[in-house]
Assembly symmetry: C3
């Protein structure tokens, strides 16, 4: 399985990882199949979005509305990490995404990027896993 | 990869695409495997729901509550398409769904349909991709 | 396809099914591949979360905020089952989850469990499907 690492700022940092995923797809030379992008962890998510600064701003407001960071969470009493909201967003967005491969390329739209969402309350070093299944 | 097209009204139009997906599964004659249904685009989603008019009405209210259409979004300043909410819902619901195939059939419940959700702010012609991986 | 059954209390019961899924992965002896965990039904979901009592309490509050149980839903008029909220949460969380397998093990973090979420309004007996695809 292919892997690459990224550094995040945490706090709902949204990072475009499309180039790194494309690189792994090209390396395998698989022409038809599926690509599962994932991360081992319970405070992050992986999805697709148009990676455009204004929309990313909207997305962060959206996340804040879904799970406010300044709310008190029971989970914060367990570990004291103040990241209850991070876990809720991760359960909702899931750190798993499966995209088809056709003619050696991911079937993404022109305005559709794969993003890593780091919901955690602190900067993190993350390992992203790229599993490619041939047709 | 199999494909089929649908016409949508946009504005959170919810369309039952189960018959078309089943048709593609039958054509491949794959008995055991998985079926990845997807769409290239950042303003749509694919999921399962009981396709029943009252519930679809509830679902549309639910979407409206999650991402109100009349709210101002920063993204609207970028392209002027007034579809900021569409992108947020797409990032949340994701236009990717993977369903198992057993004995040549999708393992759906009797009251569980595959739906294409067009969150965009205008009618669209959409191409749905059906990728089947044999066990 | 492997299967196992669980009993739930319904009402957003959150059940850790990681041990049962791991058991099925070990049985197949697949070293590299992907594992699709699913359930046929439109009132449940499958995702990952840190299975810790305080966080599960937060998660239930989060679900209640997303789709309140005491709200009136149009769907309740159709079947009288008072589970409109269950269907909405299922469409959002989806009863499908795909996790990579590496060296014969699911690539989960130490604080990341696979959970079955029973959003239905009554206790249920559920069959969980585990489909493993070799690399």
């Amino acid at each position: 399985m292919a892997k690459f690492s990224i550094s995040t700022k945490g706090n709902n940092d949204i990072i475009d990882i499309t180039p790194q995923v494309i690189e792994q797809v090209k390396k395998t030379e698989v022409k038809e199949g599926v690509c599962l992008i994932s991360c081992s962890g319970s405070t992050c998510g992986i999805t697709t979005i148009e990676y455009e600064p204004n929309l990313i701003r909207d997305f962060k407001e959206f996340l804040e509305k879904l799970a406010p960071r300044d709310k008190k969470y029971y989970h914060d009493e367990t570990w004291g990490e103040k990241n209850g909201y991070s876990h809720l967003l991760s359960a909702l967005f899931k750190p798993f995404l499966t995209v088809p491969i056709e003619n050696g390329e991911l079937t993404l739209g022109s305005w559709q990027q794969i993003v890593f969402c780091d919901f955690d309350s602190r900067p993190r070093r993350r390992k992203v896993l790229v599993k490619i299944i041939k047709n």
